[in-house]
Symmetry: C3
Subunit: 387 residues, 3 copies
């Protein structure tokens, strides 16, 4: 294996202009285009394995319903009634034992496949046909046990998106894993600053001394330096270890992993909503949702094998605490960066070669914004991106 | 009397597009046009019956002063000093015993008819004439004891507005009534969602089981299905009752009411600021003020006859508690609807025939917005209404 | 000495339109032009007298660093790292004992003169030259011991700005003074309303009875009634007094002052960020920063001679309490005015002759806005000033 540092090259790139992190118009352009046309991470499919299991995912003004049908099929819908638009399910929805979904306003009722099966007093209403008023479906897909959905239209299939990682994590058997711990962070920084922060370990010596002892910052490779999925592995300094408070594993190695993978952590960003951190003994997921130009909601999930969770004495705290500390260090520096790039005097600086993935993120972001930018659309990105 | 349900017809209408409930620009257009040209409910005239009695009414950035003059005339003014613009009266103003209104900034002083009667150090100021600097008057009118005012210009007189209800509530002698209880609600929903909610009882079985027992939702008529005043009576299930926690009256029947009116409640919306709920034994008023696209201030007043209020053992709680519960159920569903219609995937659904008044509200609203829409004005509604 | 009142003439002027106090666009135009091209008050130079002393000044999205170098030179810089833009110093920064400034993100390090002296892993990065990546400098100047800075470009030197006051306060020896007390106020009013309020004593009889006893409101002169520096002296009613709770001095007269200056207070506004109130025994500074159209941060500093501060029994409370009370009365009336001028029905009233300096402030403000208004710039003021 080649040491990553020697291969990396930021090619003289500089960062994004400050307005990309501060402008309401840029976020509006991102919302109406990017976050509608891209696949967004929703959660592990295993959390919705029984018929009637349900969850919601909010994203800006949008809200999605994910429901496992009586037929075992997982479906996604917009979370509002077709009659007057009332939001159907609250965030704490977990299961529909009745097999139906009833709007609390006028009692319009849908089955688990989204069909309208009850609408009081609508018989005889001019032009009304119940078959036309089922829940609005959403694109939904599952990759390696992780559910993704799309609020608007998009050409790319989930398989096409994940082609660069096809088969890569088969040995970990991620679909079998369960969420052992979940934490949510409300970070006062633009979502892209959080992506950029995750995309390099150049900051690790100054910001994360504990992490840097476990995975020295130069011991990384970047398999993927182009497109919507970016990243690669880092080598653990200590064989048989993991990322945890004391560097020791908190569970047996996952699935059938072997060889180098027993001593590496794989870090990938899935544009524009997920960080996938695959450890020998657990998987960490960061799901991101922009709330404002300077505010991002980040949901962290620690996934373990159910056998490990069930084992006597199982305690994920060393892994959870380690990443919680690292997260907080990262959010703090992202917040400082948010405040700095808001200055009219800020101009993007040069990337180190160790930041080659950050430069790749920027290139992919700008390409994605251009791709969805239809000059006849309102608002066009090219104009809207200006503060 | 014909049962209302049989007469109703929503004529295949669908609701308003989501932007009408969420766009800052739509609210701005409503504020600069609709809420300036329409009569807005201010309060019962009886609360201002002595010379010097004063109250304020805020509406967005606007604030009105209502003052009973020494001559017994009730007048309305903009609540700011003509000199540097300081707001003159706070919200808790009740009475001006001095017979004058003095600005706390530079002591400019006005009489109760708004004339500038004192302005220190202004004598000899070039071009200054005190007669030109009285308080800015507002249009003000009283209908059936209820005060309405208008912040800007409008062609319609208050009598023309209320023509459809002329003489309708004479028997209740509303001008004699007094506010026995007042409550204010801060609702996270667009003001039009609150109007729509009040305009139908299709939601009563699912949302208000207690209310639906007192007035079964189909036992309604809609006398008025066109224009700025909409609504009609509902029949009480139990003769001699009222809308209250136990269904029993909390006071004797009002005025000279007789016949059907002893067993009916009359519900009318007065566009764009008042719900008028006339019960056999009391009158309930909901005054609405939009605070933001997704936020409405609602002031509820329960009016009783002073003889009832003075009677030993008078307790309005059963009426107040009943409507407070109903209000809270309504506000909660309006808030759910606000969140749902904000989705880009929301498209208006079909109205049931029982929602014919909601459809009539929508038609009147759109007509009112068009009426005030002068294409040379800035901002024109047609453009501004787009998100 | 001529009594000022007799000389004053507001020349029939009226105030500014309401939009100047309420519009987001006006503030944006002020920020992107006015507050970038004008000198802004930062603090007394004496607070930064040792090498390594450092402080920050925030203004909207901008943040400045002020650092006393090893060479004794005081310099100003934008407070962000040139690499990824992280804000370098927090508000509580006081001293850099290490003689260097290290960014917490990737450890880029600057010396006290702003040069980049350390950037890990940047050697060999294509096109990188450390000499190009020092901190971004700001214009900085010191007048009579007070530090001013400029976030953007401006033609005028600090000496040119202060020409009207050249030599005026030499006898007070302001550069020797130290901050004995500092208070910050968050006022819900536009910054220009606060300037206008400070610019006249016409309001003193009604609003400040205690102040008006110490300096009767007509006993003022206005030496300067044109340009960015406006104001003049007021005569103390009691010889040997000062502005304090009991009217007595709290410290010996400053420096070498003599004659009339022993019994006068000098009040000047330095457009657009400072009020300078020079008393016989102390100097009061109000530094203003707009936070929103209806919100201004005001920092008050009471400066005394270090000998007075060190004297046994020194107690600035009578001076501090007196102005704190006066400030609160002023902020309250500014807030009332903010609410009043927001009305669409507000039109500016006539100024009294005693408000001649307010009229002069308005003229200077409008001229300054026109001066920076380049019709090819975005956004042009002429259009942006409209709500």
């Amino acid at each position: 294996m080649t040491r990553g540092a020697s291969r990396r090259d930021s090619r003289g790139a500089r960062g994004l202009e400050g307005r990309y992190f501060t402008s309401e118009r840029v976020l509006e352009a991102e919302r109406t285009t990017l976050f509608r046309s891209c696949w967004l991470y929703a959660g592990p499919a295993r959390s919705l394995r029984r018929p009637g299991d349900i969850t919601t995912l909010d994203h800006g003004a949008e809200s999605a319903l994910l429901i496992r049908g009586e037929d075992g099929v997982l479906r996604g819908f917009h979370n509002h009634c077709r009659h007057r638009g009332a939001r159907l399910c609250d965030e704490d929805a977990r299961s529909l034992e009745s097999g139906r979904l009833r709007c609390p306003y006028h009692a319009w009722t849908y089955d688990l496949a989204g069909a309208l099966i009850g609408a009081p007093n609508m018989t005889g209403v001019r032009g009304f046909d119940a078959a036309e008023w089922g829940l609005v479906p959403l694109d939904l897909g599952v990759w390696d046990g992780l559910v993704f959905l799309r609020f608007g239209d998009g050409a790319e299939s989930l398989e096409e998106l994940f082609a660069p990682l096809a088969g890569r994590f088969t040995a970990w058997r991620i679909p079998e894993l369960e969420v052992a711990r979940e934490t949510t962070y409300d970070v006062r920084a633009n979502w892209k600053l959080v992506f950029q922060n995750y995309s390099e370990c150049y900051h690790c010596p100054a910001l994360h001394p504990a992490l840097n002892r476990l995975t020295p910052y130069r011991d990384s490779e970047n398999d993927l330096e182009k497109g919507p999925i970016l990243g690669g592995p880092m080598r653990l300094a200590r064989a048989g270890g993991t990322m945890s408070a004391d560097g020791r594993r908190v569970a047996p190695p996952l699935g059938d992993i072997s060889g180098d993978d027993l001593d590496r952590v794989h870090y990938f960003t899935i544009f524009p909503s997920l960080f996938l951190s695959v450890h020998p003994d657990y998987v960490l997921l960061h799901g991101l949702t922009p709330l404002a130009p300077d505010r991002t909601l980040i949901r962290c999930q620690w996934l373990f094998h159910p056998d490990a969770i069930a084992a006597p004495g199982f305690d994920p705290a060393p892994a959870v605490d380690f990443w919680d500390l690292t997260n907080r260090q990262d959010w703090e520096i992202c917040q400082r960066t948010q405040r700095g790039v808001a200055s009219a005097a800020f101009s993007p600086g040069p990337y180190a070669d160790l930041e080659s993935v950050v430069a790749a993120f920027d290139r992919n972001y700008l390409a994605a914004m251009r791709r969805v930018d239809d000059p006849t659309a309102d608002p066009p990105h090219s104009r809207e991106a200006d503060r």
